[in-house]
Symmetry: C2
Subunit: 109 residues, 2 copies
């Protein structure tokens, strides 16, 4: 539940006109539809899927389902992994892995 709250805060911070989808603990299809909506909008021709910790596998699922089943003209532009330091409630910090998958529409669509 904490993850969801952070996600919502980050989305607010960046405003609504963002092409970033944060993947949390919901079923992968929720994120697939979010990615599809952004790719099908006229505003963006690329979308970044972000996730941390255990949600990383789900982010890969969402990217793969999107490009294999629903938006076949989408391709993977770039994948980056990293480590983020997160402050816990008790004041300690812990490191968590992160991923950013950038999906873009092929030029010759």
């Amino acid at each position: 539940m904490d993850g969801e709250i952070i996600m919502a805060d980050e989305e607010k911070e960046r405003g609504k006109d963002t092409n970033i989808v944060f993947v949390g603990n919901k079923p992968p299809m929720n994120y697939v539809t979010a990615v599809m909506a952004l790719l099908n909008s006229t505003e963006f021709d690329e979308v970044t899927i972000k996730a941390r910790g255990n949600a990383i596998s789900r982010a890969v699922d969402a990217a793969e389902i999107t490009r294999n089943r629903f938006v076949t003209e989408a391709e993977i532009k770039n994948i980056e992994i990293g480590t983020e330091t997160i402050a816990r409630e008790d004041g300690r910090t812990s490191n968590v892995s992160s991923i950013e998958i950038c999906l873009c529409l092929k030029k010759n669509k």
Copy 2:
């Protein structure tokens, strides 16, 4: 447990002198030490970390822990994601996401 069996079979198939580490359900440090052993050997200057399904997050953890804490002269050469079709025992097939993270040693070490 199925994942472990498949992993062991694949490792046998490719022989022992491989620079591929398959990540399964063990703690991340097990895979970090395997990657370190390969990178520190004279035989290889790059190692590929592979994982499927839920182990994908653990593969990212292993790569990040290796390059941030233990082998700081290692860098990420390439990351690929894909979908593999796996045959189940009941004859049906299911799709599972996969990741391949290639770590290499920087040239100016």
